[in-house]
């Protein structure tokens, strides 16, 4: 029997919040947020050194969500971990709220960096990792990117730079769900052979199932390779956890309402029961 604090349980809670938040707000990107729920649950529930009571402590691990459109998942994670009251999630996307559709740090404890335009987060994370290395600080820096986001050339500038400067304290996590805004990544602007590209740029690359908590934990906790940044290519399913949202371009922008919302929450409840059984 798993404890209520298990990362699986945390992921399930994140998914429930994400579905409710996007439904209430009439906002999009529910599929992109569900896709990273497991990765976030392991990062914040198991791997990263963070303190909800002291969100700015200097020795914390840094996490930047570069795919800012999945911000609902980060807000949900932070609230569940106690950075701010879960109640605040109800304001997401509402008039006057500071919980914007794309992740923003202002007024939201625990958000390291605001994004929303793609191709920014990895460079900033690289700068943070460089600073840590220069100062002899031991924390790690994580940046989570979407696959579609890798179309942006600025990422490849950062990929060159991080390898050149041997930033072993930097980990890029790719949410490789293989679907972007209008179609599959392969139809839109093919990334394959994706792993080879990162390797050729000098990165240590690990492929994993981005929904298997054991694999995620192992991949994130394994010791950094000396003199190389690490890229975790996490194979994921867009819309993961809600059968009718999975692997569907439609749920990049669609919002669950009415019967769809009830069906989605019912599925998550079933999964929760399975986990604690």
């Amino acid at each position: 029997m798993k404890t209520p604090q298990s990362t699986e349980d945390l992921a399930n809670r994140i998914r429930r919040h994400v579905v409710e938040m996007t439904s209430r707000g009439g906002s999009s990107h529910v599929g992109s947020a569900l896709s990273i729920a497991d990765l976030l649950a392991v990062l914040y529930g198991q791997v990263m050194n963070v303190d909800p009571q002291n969100p700015d402590m200097p020795e914390r691990d840094r996490f930047i969500l570069s795919k800012g459109h999945a911000g609902a998942a980060v807000y949900a994670t932070l609230a569940e971990r106690g950075f701010f009251p879960v109640e605040k999630l109800k304001s997401h996307y509402q008039d006057g709220s500071d919980l914007s559709g794309h992740v923003s740090h202002k007024g939201v404890p625990g958000v390291e960096f605001s994004t929303g335009s793609l191709g920014h987060g990895l460079s900033v994370a690289t700068g943070m990792a460089l600073s840590a290395k220069l100062r002899g600080a031991n924390h790690r820096v994580f940046a989570m990117l979407s696959d579609g986001e890798c179309d942006e050339g600025s990422n490849w500038e950062a990929i060159l730079f991080a390898a050149h400067h041997k930033l072993s304290n930097l980990t890029a996590i790719i949410d490789y769900n293989k679907i972007q805004s209008l179609a599959s990544t392969q139809e839109t602007l093919g990334l394959e052979p994706f792993t080879d590209k990162w390797r050729a740029f000098g990165w240590n690359v690990v492929e994993l199932d981005g929904h298997d908590h054991e694999q995620i934990t192992k991949s994130l906790q394994s010791s950094p390779v000396a003199d190389q940044p690490t890229c975790l290519i996490a194979h994921t399913t867009k819309g993961k956890g809600i059968s009718f949202m999975e692997n569907s371009v439609l749920w990049h922008y669609r919002t669950a309402r009415g019967e769809e919302l009830e069906a989605a929450l019912a599925e998550l409840e079933t999964q929760e029961l399975k986990e604690v059984a």
Binding site: G127, L130, S131, S154
Partner: protein, 315 residues
């Protein structure tokens, strides 16, 4: 100006380990002393301005005081979104240093003409915009912007007016400097083109027309007190910038005056109009071609003050 920038930055880097200079693979020769003396405070990011600026934001968030450095438009235009979202929105101490404002690289062609930077940078919330007129202002501004918490844009001209500082004068961001006193007209200039304004003022003075000359080294925040006083105390205001007239110094001054019910006797904006430069040439040649040299400034005063100027013409 860039040598004075680098010299001051060397002084600062020696005192303050937080100082970090990142170049986009430019500054051959110019940055040698700095990179040799402070290898741990120097990064060549390669020809990759977007990443350079993102890295600058990341470093600044960790407590570094960062200067990004490249030629003309490369340092701010290619990476404008990184400046806006990553650096300015996060209130990072990132100082964006443009080497070669206006027509500094006039012969190199339109790609190297930084002639819209002031208006573009001025429109970004909370970003300070600084354009020194002489070497003293350039060095002082270099240090002053390090003390500002957020993003500053520093436009360094290849040309410079002769140093005008008076004994014991201190440089203050956002505070205009009065370089000549006069009541007939005020010439407000920013950047190295100040040399033309000063020459024009001297020519006018020989003819008995006294021009107040203001160096508006900080376009934003703008010294409202000095600008309003100029409009009220002198016959009229002429702004001079090596830059498009759309949204730069002249626009900023006009906005200030009208919003404060301080319309001057006359008002002229001298700057670039009518599209991209179609020819190349030295900075002084292009100023002449586009009507921005001392002679053209005197001409503007002549049209604004025809009665007074009749004497000059006769002479």
């Amino acid at each position: 100006m860039r040598d004075h920038f680098v010299a001051r930055l060397c002084d600062m880097a020696e005192r303050d380990p937080r100082i970090m200079l990142i170049t986009g693979d430019l500054g051959f020769g110019v940055l040698n002393e700095y990179r040799e003396r402070f290898p741990k405070q120097f990064i060549n990011a390669g020809v990759a301005e977007q990443n350079m600026t993102g890295i600058a934001a990341g470093l600044a968030l960790e407590g570094h005081v960062v200067y990004t450095y490249s030629i003309a438009n490369f340092v701010f235009m290619r990476c404008l979104e990184q400046i806006r979202n990553d650096a300015a929105y996060h209130n990072c101490n990132v100082n964006v240093v443009c080497v070669g404002g206006g027509f500094s690289y006039g012969q190199l062609g339109v790609s190297h003409h930084a002639t819209e930077d002031l208006s573009i940078m001025r429109s970004l919330p909370s970003v300070k915009v600084v354009s020194p007129a002489d070497h003293w202002e350039a060095a002082e501004a270099t240090e002053a912007i390090s003390r500002e918490s957020g993003v500053c844009y520093l436009r360094l001209d290849k040309s410079a007016a002769e140093n005008q500082q008076s004994p014991d004068e201190t440089f203050e961001l956002g505070k205009a400097r009065q370089l000549r006193e006069g009541q007939d007209v005020t010439l407000i200039a920013t950047g190295g083109i100040m040399s033309e304004a000063l020459e024009a003022a001297d020519t006018l003075q020989e003819q008995g027309i006294f021009a107040r000359v203001l160096s508006l080294h900080t376009i934003k925040p703008l010294d409202q007190v000095a600008v309003i006083a100029a409009a009220k105390q002198t016959g009229g205001v002429i702004t001079i910038e090596e830059h498009t007239v759309d949204g730069g110094l002249g626009s900023a001054v006009a906005e200030t005056l009208l919003e404060n019910d301080a319309a001057p006797g006359f008002f002229r904006r001298m700057g670039l109009r009518g599209g991209f430069a179609s020819i190349v040439g030295s900075q002084s040649y292009l100023r002449q071609q586009y009507g921005l040299d001392a002679e053209a400034i005197v001409g503007q005063v002549a049209t604004a003050l025809p009665a007074r100027f009749a004497i000059v013409k006769a002479a």
